[in-house]
């Protein structure tokens, strides 16, 4: 359990964050310069906030009101900085053993061996950090942090310097390690994939403030603000107006087109209000004319033309210009490569798309 309220003013930057999480895997997510590292520093005790409170598993680590400030060496946290922070002049063994000097020789040796086994670095105990690969270095850093049985493990941008190919493997390994060790983990990252993969709970930070703190599904599919929606790559953010918003229906006017969304998404909106309509590209459906028979009619159907297409790794990103309405309205669609092939899509083709009611998320404006 992690509770943090941190206020700090530094060089024209103001940090004012507050969040409370119970999950075992938390991600602090946001762009560079958002204040994530600063928040980390406050939690680890390296930086002293101007005001606030930090509590981990019921232990009060910092409280400006009662002048509590537990020094970093007694916070019982494991910290893995972005560059792993391995001590270059010590071997793997010595690095891992660094935090457990209070144990006597045999106990220490046993613990080191246990940790080395846990991260799978057997045989490398005598090596120096510079002789190891990036992934191996990270594992040493983890072993070292976990050796002192911390209550919270904090990782700063763990994969920022890892090649994409290796990332997948390392991410899974980290997850696996976290499961096996059972330690609550706080990961700081600006990478969306990392955030989604590693976090059960995501705290979105930008410009020194918390924009949203929620489950990963909440943040992804129900971003609280336009900014959050942008961060989680909701590529379709459309300005619309509320037409009807009672318990049964939510009708929106988007550029003259009428859309029906889930009534549940109607929280806090009233007719006549402006909203940001968020639709993830992967959730835009393409209607197969030849398969309509016997199925319920497609929701919110619109016809349009593919005006742009781009192939990314195994997925196509299309830009579809919808017909009708006032000004030209474009939607971004993402679909797997094989679907693109099977539907024989290409630039210039006219297609019909369907927006499921559940795929539409509404953010009130103003």
């Amino acid at each position: 359990m992690l509770r943090a309220e941190i206020k700090k003013r530094l060089d024209g930057f103001e940090l004012d964050v507050a969040f409370e999480v119970d999950e075992g895997r938390v991600v602090l997510f946001g762009p560079s310069g958002a204040g994530k590292s600063l928040t980390l520093q406050a939690i680890t005790g390296v930086m002293r906030p101007d005001a606030g409170r930090v509590e981990v598993n019921g232990r009060l680590l910092f409280d400006s009101a009662s002048a509590v400030n537990v020094p970093p060496q007694r916070r019982r946290l494991g910290y893995v900085p972005q560059s792993y922070g391995l001590f270059p002049h010590l071997t793997v063994e010595e690095n891992v053993a660094y935090g457990v000097q209070r144990l006597d020789g045999p106990q220490r040796k046993a613990l080191v061996r246990e940790m080395v086994d846990l991260v799978g670095l057997q045989g490398l105990e005598r090596r120096r950090p510079r002789e190891l690969s990036g992934g191996q270095q990270q594992r040493v850093a983890l072993a070292r942090a976990l050796a002192s049985r911390p209550e919270l493990l904090v990782l700063d941008e763990p994969f920022s310097s890892i090649d994409t190919g290796l990332r997948g493997t390392l991410r899974r390994e980290l997850l696996d390690l976290q499961d096996r060790s059972g330690v609550t983990t706080l990961v700081v990252t600006h990478d969306l994939d990392d955030a989604f993969f590693l976090g059960r709970r995501i705290v979105v930070i930008d410009d020194g403030r918390v924009l949203q703190s929620g489950s990963r599904e909440d943040v992804f599919y129900r971003p609280a603000t336009r900014r959050v929606a942008e961060f989680v790559a909701t590529r379709n953010i459309l300005r619309a107006k509320v037409l009807e918003a009672d318990g049964q229906r939510l009708l929106l006017d988007w550029q003259g087109r009428v859309l029906e969304a889930e009534p549940a998404a109607a929280a806090g909106v009233a007719p006549g209000q402006d909203v940001e309509l968020c639709i993830r590209p992967a959730q835009v459906m393409i209607v197969r004319e030849d398969r309509l028979h016997g199925l319920p009619p497609p929701e919110n159907p619109f016809s349009g033309t593919i005006i742009e297409e781009a192939l990314q790794a195994e997925a196509y990103v299309l830009r579809v210009r919808l017909a009708g309405g006032g000004t030209p309205s474009d939607l971004e669609i993402e679909l797997p490569d094989y679907v693109y092939q099977r539907l024989r899509l290409q630039r210039g083709k006219e297609i019909t798309i369907s927006l499921h009611r559940q795929a539409m998320h509404v953010i009130p404006v103003g």
Partner: protein
């Protein structure tokens, strides 16, 4: 080598040893603070620490003599109440040499400490070690090439100290006449043979020290 040479050499080693010790005690923590924190106070301290580099040694010696000798209240207090006399002693010479050599240590140790990634120190703290332990197990070892070079320079400077030593400690044979002073005195009395021997011994000693430190810094590989 006659007895004269040995005494002067021993005095020089004593004075330089004391001076280096004093510099370490004052200079290493100072260099670390200067490397890690930046405020108006640290900049003032940095300037003060470097001042002896640009002041003539005789001026430093003069200030010391005035402050520590019988002509000042503090000097009288030291001598009469605490029984400590510093002027005209090798300990006083050591203090003078320490002041002259301190800038060299600070100037080399500060960048050495700056080159140590602060993240390493942070991680070490979170692993539960005290600040002192982190300093001695992480910071110092990683900064050691620069620090050792600084110590070498400091020792060499202290052994060669002349002007401030002469002012504060005088040139008392057997008590404060270090090698540089002995050379000067030998030349003054026209004993060129003695001057030659002393100068040679001093040069060889200094070169030997630099060689030792060159060897130690090369040995430390990270």
């Amino acid at each position: 080598m006659s007895g004269v040479d040995l005494t002067a050499l021993r005095l020089s080693l004593q004075v330089a040893g004391l001076a280096t010790g004093l510099c370490l005690v004052v200079g290493i923590p100072l260099a670390w603070v200067l490397a890690r924190r930046r405020s108006w106070l640290t900049e003032v301290l940095a300037a003060a620490a470097l001042l002896p580099l640009v002041l003539p040694p005789t001026v430093v010696g003069y200030y010391l003599l005035t402050a520590l000798g019988r002509n000042s209240g503090f000097g009288r207090f030291l001598e009469d109440d605490l029984g400590i006399r510093l002027v005209f002693t090798w300990q006083g010479a050591g203090i003078a040499a320490a002041i002259m050599a301190l800038p060299l240590l600070v100037m080399t140790a500060r960048p050495a400490f700056e080159s140590v990634d602060p993240d390493l120190e942070r991680v070490a703290l979170t692993l539960g070690r005290s600040r002192m332990a982190v300093f001695f197990t992480i910071t110092l070892p990683l900064a050691s090439p620069g620090v050792l070079a600084g110590i070498a320079l400091t020792f060499a400077r202290a052994i060669g100290e002349f002007g401030a030593t002469l002012m504060v400690a005088g040139s008392i044979p057997g008590r404060t006449r270090t090698m540089p002073l002995a050379v000067y005195d030998a030349v003054q009395s026209g004993d060129m043979a003695l001057a030659n021997t002393l100068a040679l011994v001093l040069t060889l000693t200094s070169m030997a020290m630099l060689a030792v430190f060159g060897w130690t810094t090369r040995r430390i590989r990270l």
